[in-house]
């Protein structure tokens, strides 16, 4: 059901944690109870560091981890452009009923970047 990429991200949990003094966002999925938090630091218009925390299914966890990898050193504008489809491609796909994990991660990213000028 889950791609090797998703399974590896869940097992290894890269970039899990919190960042003091970071911008953060929190999104929840009331249907299945998943919670995803994203923390990121922006320096000179670029994402310098990011972390995620998640309670939820492999889709939510993997998507949270993947987003932190995808935005590494990206400009705010480039990070803001990351779409659900791009995230799904990075994850090598998710089962249809798990797509909400990727949607949550992109929503968290956009919330965290609100207010940052490109």
């Amino acid at each position: 059901m889950y791609s090797p990429t998703v399974r590896r991200l869940v097992a290894e949990l890269p970039n899990s944690g919190r960042l003091p003094d970071a911008v953060s966002a929190r999104v929840e999925n009331p249907i299945c109870g998943d919670v995803l938090e994203l923390y990121l630091c922006v320096v000179d218009g670029r994402v310098s560091e990011s972390r995620f925390q998640a309670t939820g299914c492999p889709a939510a966890i993997a998507a949270g981890a993947a987003i932190t990898i995808m935005i590494e050193r990206k400009s705010v504008e480039a990070a803001r452009q990351i779409s659900v489809e791009q995230l799904l491609e990075f994850l090598e796909g998710l089962p249809p009923h798990k797509r909400h994990g990727a949607e949550m991660a992109v929503r968290a990213l956009r919330q965290a970047l609100e207010g940052h000028e490109p």
Binding site: Y2, R7, R8, V10, A11, L13, S16, G17, R26, I31, C32, G33, D34, V35, E37, F52, Q53, A54, T55, G56, C57, P58, A59, I61, P95, H97, K98
Partner: protein, 387 residues
């Protein structure tokens, strides 16, 4: 990396002796058991010997065993076969809220066909409420179906009492004993059941074969029609290698029942007790007393079962979960929900189901890996942080 299989309620490894017993019946003794020539008669003879082996495990007579393709077919046959046969007598069936989907989906279909189904609830301990069952019986009740051991929690239902009740009211009584056969001593006469479903791949036999015990004198409309196989109770050329495998698996299970209870129960108890002692915010789901010797269903607050499952799998340990995320429909385990367990604990539930092939070293490894895995999941869990 060590590989540990703790998902025996899903399926079991075929015992090497079972595999050896089956092998000749693919390439050499491949006859159709209905053929008159020597090839067929050889197949017939071994098939009937296997029938005796299955019957012996459950305390039945050989002629009371009907071979099927597995537990699901046996359940469908029992429910649909009896319901249609006794339709003119009544249209009410009593079952439970914690049955396997093979029973529940069949009951839902029967409801669409005009049958009335009562789903008896279970208590927090996972034992069904007998008073509710008894109160549900009415003149139109033609069938009671209650599983013997629950596949998710291992809870054992009081079948003998239900059997007495069914007999006193002249109601046909079926049990889905798929998770019980070969795990605990079982006698169909002592339980008072009229029909019993069992499945080979739950007791170290091959997949794709099972049986339905049908007490002598009980009639039903067959599900699978065609030739006169199985005394016209289940058509289709017999899966001789599968039947041989099932028979051998039953023979080995019967010989190993005492050891299973002592040794496997010991492994399960050690695993469970150590988890409860060393991992905070962990709990057992269902009764810890009225329970099969090999199952423990544990919840770990602040975690999610499917993510735990993948993390454990990466470290070589195979388990199962009742988390909503693991079902295709995002619905949590209907069994754990029926026990009144809270959503967050269902979310973080893991089922460990052991077998006679597990060892002390397997448990040692699990106890080394599990606490660290739970800790990692909780460290990154907002909900555990905020509990």
């Amino acid at each position: 990396m060590r590989r540990v299989y703790f998902d025996n309620n899903a399926t079991t490894a075929v015992d090497p002796q079972v595999f050896e017993a089956m092998k000749p019946f693919f390439l050499e003794d491949f006859g159709n058991a209905s053929s008159i020539h020597a090839f067929g008669q050889r197949a017939r003879a071994v098939l009937e010997e296997a029938r005796r082996q299955v019957a012996a495990l459950v305390g039945a007579q050989p002629q009371e065993i009907v071979f099927t393709s597995g537990g699901t077919e046996s359940d469908n046959t029992a429910l649909r076969g009896v319901a249609s046969y006794l339709r003119e007598r009544g249209n009410h069936i009593i079952t439970t809220a914690i049955e396997h989907p093979a029973i529940l989906r069949t009951c839902e279909q029967l409801e669409k066909e005009g049958f009335e189904i009562t789903y008896v609830p279970a208590g927090k301990d996972g034992i069904i409420k007998l008073d509710v069952l008894e109160a549900a019986i009415k003149d139109q009740t033609i069938l009671i179906s209650v599983m013997y051991i629950n596949n998710e929690t291992g809870t054992i239902q009081p079948l003998a009492r239900i059997g007495e009740l069914a007999k006193s009211r002249k109601i046909i009584f079926h049990t889905d004993a798929v998770q019980a056969v070969g795990k605990i001593p079982l006698d169909v006469k002592q339980l008072g059941v009229d029909l019993l479903s069992l499945s080979s791949h739950k007791l170290h036999g091959p997949k794709g074969i099972g049986a339905l015990y049908v007490r002598r004198g009980v009639r039903f409309n067959p599900l699978i029609l065609g030739g006169p196989h199985e005394r016209s109770r289940r058509a289709g050329t017999e899966n001789v290698p599968g039947v041989i495998g099932l028979g051998k698996a039953c023979e080995l299970a019967r010989q190993g029942l005492a050891d299973f209870d002592m040794r496997v129960r010991g492994l399960r108890d050690r695993l469970e007790n150590a988890v409860l002692e060393t991992i905070p915010d962990s709990s057992v789901n269902g009764s810890r007393t009225e329970r099969a010797p090999h199952v423990t269903n544990l919840s770990f607050r602040g975690t999610e079962g499917e993510a735990l499952l993948i993390s454990l799998d990466f470290q070589g340990i195979a388990v199962s979960t009742g988390s909503a995320c693991s079902s295709g429909s995002l619905e949590p385990s209907h069994v754990l929900r029926a026990l009144g367990i809270s959503s967050d604990l269902i979310h973080g539930s893991i089922r460990f189901s052991l077998s006679r092939m597990n060892t002390e070293e397997d448990v040692d490894y699990a106890l080394e890996v599990l606490p660290k895995t739970i800790d990692r999941m909780r460290e990154m869990s907002p909900l555990y942080r905020e509990r």
